[in-house]
């Protein structure tokens, strides 16, 4: 099903025209309303008239998370506070949170994006949504909430955590669509089993999973354990929150709402634009935002884009699964390692649980990775040789995929902390001065 067919299935040429018109208007708008951008453009000797085509976007300056922090809290707002109806922010694990402001129109457009998303999952007014994303400064909870309400569904605003209650209500209220992080979905699947609840007594049929990178294998695991369709939802608070992109029934790429958020892929090192299908950092420019529009915001997410008509009928550009964040990338003995690579190795091996903890240390000037991973209960053996063989199996596979040795530590069941939000799976103890 398609929420807004005239836009989502629009002819590519027409869509480019709309984007061009919106981009020109946006550049004009920020030049006059966001002193930060006027100054940046002036430094580059740019005036709004220099931006005529979509290609001209390459002339515009980038925006980074640091710019948001430097302008904390409201420095990048393009409207007076009287027009701001909502404020969200990032969790701010590395200091001050980054703040974003929405006008009423921004909230409406965000809600429109989520309506497209949930409709693509096949959800309708007959569905019951359980929102297990956190409600608060984090955009996940309220974003999904507004979207689900907008398509007329019934919404259970549970927020994250309190797993037993989540599962009881899921059972008693007949939840059909679950919204949470993919790692929490897996955690819930285990908990449902532990609580002795029969899967057939649940009405759950689909899930909107996002807010952290996940792999195809993890999708398979969730779909199998919960017997549902697991769809990707992509977003970040700086751009709007969840619903910047969403998967359709084809489950082979995430459509981006590019009529509102113009995507580019750049080389994260040279910052040069990359072509269709090339892997690089995803960058967004707001085309319609009023409250806090950003030009060429660097998401740090690594992916590639594919244009053309999808078999679902949509023409909105499709993004590959996020490979990782350029921030999350670990450089181990000079080799790039993404936590998602480790995750897909683990999920490929049926003997292991999808939970892990990777610890990186530098011992005698050499980087060392230790992976703590749980064996599935039925695969624990009381013979040491068999346990050592399991260890070797995963170690060899990681060596193959990463080109690096990883010390494997087999852990007891449930000894690795399960997360109810974004999973913390990597600890880097190295000190770089």
């Amino acid at each position: 099903m398609i929420w807004n067919e005239s836009i989502e299935c629009m002819d590519g040429g027409a869509l480019r025209k709309i984007q061009t018109i919106r981009l020109r208007k946006m550049v004009e708008y920020v030049y006059h309303n966001t002193p930060f951008y006027r100054k940046k453009m002036q430094e580059l000797g740019l005036s709004p008239q220099d931006i005529e085509t979509l290609e001209d976007i390459h002339k515009l300056p980038f925006t980074t998370k640091t710019d948001l922090r430097d302008n904390y809290p409201f420095g990048l707002f393009a409207v007076p506070m009287s027009q701001i109806t909502r404020i969200h922010g990032s969790s701010g694990t590395t200091g001050k949170p980054t703040v974003v402001g929405y006008t009423r129109k921004d909230i409406n457009l965000w809600t429109e994006c989520l309506s497209r998303c949930f409709t693509a999952y096949g959800a309708t007014k007959d569905d019951i949504f359980q929102i297990a994303y956190g409600y608060g400064l984090f955009t996940g909870g309220l974003g999904a909430h507004y979207g689900a309400e907008n398509i007329g569904a019934s919404v259970i605003p549970l927020s994250s955590g309190n797993t037993e209650k989540q599962i009881h209500l899921m059972h008693d209220f007949g939840t059909t669509v679950l919204c949470c992080t993919p790692s929490y979905a897996l955690f819930m699947a285990d908990a449902i089993k532990d609580m002795g609840i029969d899967r057939d007594s649940l009405k759950l049929r689909a899930g909107a999973f996002g807010a952290e990178p996940w792999t195809e294998n993890m999708r398979r695991e969730i779909e199998e354990k919960l017997a549902i369709k697991a769809y990707d939802i992509y977003g970040l608070s700086e751009i709007s929150g969840p619903g910047v992109g969403f998967e359709c029934e084809c489950q082979n790429g995430t459509h981006l709402n590019e009529d509102h958020f113009y995507p580019e892929i750049i080389d994260p090192v040279t910052l040069e634009p990359l072509g269709e299908g090339q892997k690089g950092e995803l960058v967004f420019t707001h085309l319609t935002k009023e409250g806090m529009p950003l030009l060429r915001y660097r998401t740090k997410d690594l992916t590639s884009l594919h244009y053309g008509k999808c078999s679902c009928g949509r023409t909105l550009v499709k993004m590959d699964r996020i490979l990782g964040r350029s921030d999350d990338m670990l450089i181990i003995r000079g080799i790039n390692v993404f936590p998602t690579q480790i995750e897909s190795v683990i999920l490929d091996l049926p003997e292991f649980e999808p939970h892990y903890l990777l610890t990186v240390d530098r011992i005698n000037n050499t980087d060392r990775m230790e992976l703590k991973v749980e064996v599935k209960p039925e695969f624990y053996s009381d013979e040491i040789n068999k346990m050592l063989a399991l260890k070797k199996r995963i170690g060899d596979k990681l060596q193959n995929v990463l080109g690096l040795g990883v010390d494997i530590k087999l852990a007891e069941p449930r000894s690795i902390e399960r997360s109810t939000g974004k999973a913390k799976r990597v600890i880097d103890n190295r000190k770089f001065n």
């Binding site: 064996v375 209960p377 624990y380 053996s381 009381d382 013979e383 040491i384 346990m387 050592l388 530590k409 087999l410 852990a411 007891e412 069941p413 449930r414 000894s415």
Partner: protein
Amino acid sequence: MKMVAKQLSIFLENRQGRLMEVTRVLAEENINFSALCIAENNEFGILRGIVSDPQKACDVLKKKNFAASLTDVLGISCPNKPGMLSLILKKLADSGIFIEYMYSFALNHATITVIRPNDLKKCIEVLQRNEVELIDPESMYNL
């Protein structure tokens, strides 16, 4: 195979207090160990033991997230004298039976040995043919 006993096996990380935790959980359930041994390498251990109620022990431990399982083993009894074990092992070796692991303890005049052979059925046959005393599982659980 009524002479097959259920041994409690637990995979344990090398973490302080982990073994104590196992014994505490079983003590609370009033479960007794009649034999216990630990096989270890440098990062994990495997506890193997004969307990008064193997199924219950396994269930309560699993509920507490221990990697517990039950393994089929045999208990044999022979006189506590030099050469007796050697005699039995020779019979097994001659019949092509491998021993994955075993543990033994002497109780007055008898030696009790728990063995995990690669082929349980064949092992029982060989032992019975050679009149080695197999211990009834119930008696093992309540030694």
